[in-house]
Structures are given as C-alpha cells and as structure tokens.
Amino acid sequence: MLYRTAGQFKTSYAEDHALFPVRQDAMLLGVILLFAFVILPLTASAFTFQALLIPVLIYALAALGLNILTGYAGQLSLGTGAFMGVGAYACYKLITIFPELNIFLAIALSGFFSAGTGVLFGLPSLRIKGFYLAIATLAAQFFLVWLFQKWGWLYNYSSSGAIQVPNIEMFGVTVTGPRASDLVQYYFVLVVVCLVTWLAINITRGRIGRMWKAVRDMDIAAELVGINLMRAKLTAFFVSSYIVGVSGALFVFMWRGAAEANLFDISLSFRVLFIAIIGGLGSILGNYLGAFLIVALPVVIGAVPAAFGIPISSSTVEHLNVMTIGALIIAFLILEPHGLARLWAIIREKLVLWPFPH
C-alpha cells in the first residue's frame, strides 16, 4: 500500500491548500530532490551531465514557461525558441556591458527582456485567438531570429556572428565558459529551476492561476465575473516569456557555451512545444516528464543497439528519434491529450486504492 490516504484528514482549509495534501506525495518529492541534489551529482558521469541532466532541466523550464501561456492561459505560441533567444542575447549583452554583474542576477534580469518582448508580441492576443494568434507568434519567431542575425551589436560584431560564453566566476567558482565544471553548472541550473518552479506553482494555484484558466476555458464568462481579459492575457505573456527567457539564458550560458541565431529557430520552438504537449498542457509536473522523455529518447535509441553489439549510425538514430517523437505526439493528442502528467495521475489514483480496487 504505497498510497494510503486513509486516516489523513484535513481539519482546516489551510491544510487543504497545502501543496501535498497526501503525505506520500511529499515523500516522493523528497526522494526526487535527494536524487537531484545528492545522489545524481555524486554518481553522474560528464556525459550524463551534458547529454541528460542539464538539458532535461533547461528544456523542462522552457516548457514550463510555454505551458503557463498555452496550458494555463490557453494562448498558443510558436515563438518559444525566439523568446529563449531574447533571454540568451540579453544575458550576453548584460555581461558585456556590466562585466562585474553577478551572473545569477544577469540571468534573472535577462528574463525581463524576453518578458517585455513577449508582452509586445502578445498584444495581438487581445484581438485574435487560436490559429491566428499562433500565426502572429510565428511572425515573431521569424522576425526575432532575423534580428539576431542582422543586428551585429547583439553579438558584439563578432566575425562568426556567434556569441561565445566567457569564463565567469561567482564567489570564486567558475560557473560559465569553457573552464566551468559540469557539476557546478548542474547545481546552478538545478537551483534556478527549482526556484522558478516553486514560484510558478504558487502563481498557478491562486487567484492568478484561476484567472488564466478562466480565460482559457471561457473568456466571455471570465469577463462576466470581472476578470480583465487584457490584463489576464498580458500577465500570462509576461510570466511565460520571463521563464522562457531565463531558460534561454541557461541554455546558452550553462549548457551550449556558444550560440548563433539559428540555434533559436522554429525547430527549437517545436521541440519545447512537443515537450509541453507530451508532458501535459496545464500541468507543472508534465514539463519534467516530457523533457526527460524527449531528451533521453535519442540517448537511449543510440545506446541500446550499441549495448547489444548492433552497429547503428548517428543518422539512423536521428531518423528513429524523429519518427518516435512524431508517433508519440500523435498518440498523445489522440489518446491522452493531458499527457504524461495525466498518466501519472491515473497511476497515482490506482495506487491510492491498491490493493483493493473497490
């Protein structure tokens, strides 16, 4: 009996508002955090950090940002990749102009640049919905990537057109650039991701989260209960783009180490969108599950045949990966539109009843 809810009664609304009304959920989270903060760092290889742990966290954060906009507030966006780019370029310019600036602060500030850009490109959402809004965000996507290419000031007029992350220290430890260690970068990303996730959970479970969901489910009725549609939509664009921007800064500074404009092209937008869909729209947990699946898939596809001694070329891995992701997207859209998060909820419900199904 893994999940026993019997005997756990709530005696106040405060307890009912707790993040984990069921004790086992809190314990499970404790175990996951123990793994994330202690066991994985002690055991992971450089490859695991680079190919799995760090990208999973960063992609999950990007998907979380998109999920706030699309899953919670119901506004579809295809510009996630470009907004990540805004965060990354903003961070690069910040540390160029203010070399003394603490990198943690620089990343936190760079989110505001993409938040501002997000609100700007979110303005059409006050007039148009659904498919047409998606097209408007698509225009933002292409425009911004074009800007990243053409505006030399953004990449300090480097001849390659790329930005190169310098070695930056924080409290005497190198956290970015070629000299930074995987372990340090992993911890940096982990702390940022945990912090942002906690804040996002808080926003989504209260008044503002309800406001977003109300706009998503029926905007006319939302207006009728006094929700200001314009403010609801624009705060969603702001918060979402802020998180996406931070993830973009982490993406370049804590993982890739360098970037050029086309890193942020439409395929990155789709990748993040797929994570959010497979993970589950309107869920926080889903972003982690989805990111894990999408990032781990090519690693597994590459490693499994090799383990059995079957030679597999990297292009075959790539093809298999794309095909599997495509199949997964279709399967989820048809069979379980609420994604992996919903599957977990179903398993959890079963465990609560187990071993007595009735």
Partner: protein, 274 residues
C-alpha cells in the same frame, strides 16, 4: 481590508437602495441585429428585494434583454438606470463593478476547473493580492485565499454540492452544472442576480431544489433577482411581478395572477397571429 469573510457579508447587499424602491430602470430600450428587431421600446423596472420574472415564447427577446442589462449588447436606443446611475449602455465591467451577476441559458462554466475553483473565480475582483504576493504564496496571499475559501464553502454548503467540490465541472451532469453556475454568481455577492432559464432541462426534483435555492437567496440574503423561465408553475410560485415579451415587445406587466389571465398573453403563448 475588504475580504467579506464574515457571514454577515451575506446580509443584504448594501447598494444604497431601500427595499421596494426601484433598483433597475429600463427605459425605451430598442435593439436590432441588422434587420432583426430583437427588442422594441422596452420599459420596465425591477424593485429592490423582489423576484422579477421575464417570460415569453421562444425568440421573444428575453435573453437579449438580459444581455443589454449586463452589457453584452449595446442597445440602439434607450437608457438603463441601475442603483440611481443612468447609462446609455452598460459595459460588462460596469455591470460587474456595480453588482450585477448572471447565469446563462447554456451553462457558461470554466469546464476544465473544479467546482471549487469555478466558484472561487466568482470572487476574482474581490481578491487584491498582487503577483508578487502570489509568487510567495505563504503569508498574505494564502490568508486571502483562505478567507475567500470560507465564504465559498458556505455557498457550497448552501447549494448542497460538497461532494463535487473537487470534480472538474465538465464531468458533472447538467443539473449540477446549473447549480455550480448559480454558486459562482452568488460568490460575487451581487445586488442584482440575472438568471437565464435556471431550470431548463431539469427534472421535477431538481427544479424543486433550484426553486428553493432561488427563494432562499432572495429571502435570506435579500438579493434582487430577475429570472427568465418557461415553466409557468415555477414562475407563478416564485415571482412577485412578471413582464411578458413577445416579438421583442412588452405585452403585459404585472402580478402573476393578473398576467396569467391576460388575453394577450394567452394568445401569444397559443400562437394566435396578430
């Protein structure tokens, strides 16, 4: 702080209008959609504390009338005076701000949200903690959330929907959805409640429950109610005064008995041409 957390908040809404005085005055409202005249020169009033029924055959313009009152439609002619303030046209946020809440003929709930969240959403405007407090959650935001939750739980008890508190409303049967929608409107603590066919599609038992809720809201909380209803029995039992529309015009206005025996009304319902 204006949290309305104490049960005293359920006492008569303080809208500065004495019981029995005119709360809503509709004057010479005309509304057309292209060539379709939905409302023609409509004038009637709603008095504070009463239950006012609006009846009439299908397509008579009843829903359009409510849409004008809460600002979804802008009439071409006429004026609306609510709580002593005259407007050429309401806007939805004026209506909400001044204490008009409503339910819809085809339930307009937030389908993906639970019963509790739907009703909590009714208190959106009363909740003031900004995004920074929300982000931290523990502290003022949580305190505010709990204060409003207590009020909402009272509404849940009143409507006897405790068992579906955490159920997504999209999964509820129609009758219960109508009840949740009433709960959301009540959570706004309105001084005027507009109900568009609150009992449509309900069985007898559900209708009796809903009638009881409407009467209790009116009597215990002093909420003024304007309702559209097709079931004549219900209208006669519940309402203090009835206004009858046909083809966008008022054909009768008065006490239920008086209206029931009016020849024009009988003809309209029997479809006698005129």
């Amino acid at each position: 702080m204006n949290l309305h957390a104490d049960p005293a908040a359920f006492a008569e809404p303080d809208d500065g209008i004495a019981k029995g005085a005119v709360l809503l005055e509709i004057r010479n409202i005309s509304l057309a959609f292209g060539g379709v005249k939905a409302l023609t020169d409509i004038s009637f009033n709603v008095r504070k504390g009463e239950i006012r029924a609006i009846i009439g055959p299908n397509g008579a313009g009843k829903t359009s009338m409510l849409n004008v009152v809460n600002g979804f439609y802008t009439p071409q002619k006429g004026s609306i005076t609510f709580r002593g303030r005259e407007r050429r046209a309401m806007k939805p946020h004026h209506a909400v701000g001044q204490g008009i809440a409503r339910t819809f003929q085809n339930v307009a709930l937030f389908k993906g949200m639970s019963t509790l969240d739907n009703i909590m959403a009714g208190r959106s405007v009363m909740m003031k903690r900004n995004i920074l407090w929300q982000m931290i959650w523990h502290g003022p935001a949580l305190k505010e959330e709990i204060a409003h939750r207590e009020v909402v739980e009272e509404i849940i008890d009143f409507l006897e929907i405790q068992h579906i508190r955490h159920t997504p409303v999209g999964k509820l049967p129609y009758g219960l959805q109508k009840r949740v929608e009433l709960g959301r409107a009540l959570a706004m603590e309105p001084s005027l409640l507009l109900l568009d066919e609150p009992m449509a599609g309900m069985n007898l038992e559900e209708k009796e429950d809903m009638s009881r809720f409407i009467l209790d809201v009116n009597q215990q909380r002093g909420t003024t109610i304007a309702l559209i209803e097709h079931d004549m029995g219900v209208v006669m039992d519940l309402s203090d005064r009835v206004v009858v529309l046909d083809y966008g015009k008022i054909i009768a206005d008065g006490a239920p008995d008086q209206v029931k025996n009016d020849q024009g009304v009988i003809d309209a319902y029997l479809g006698v041409p005129h």
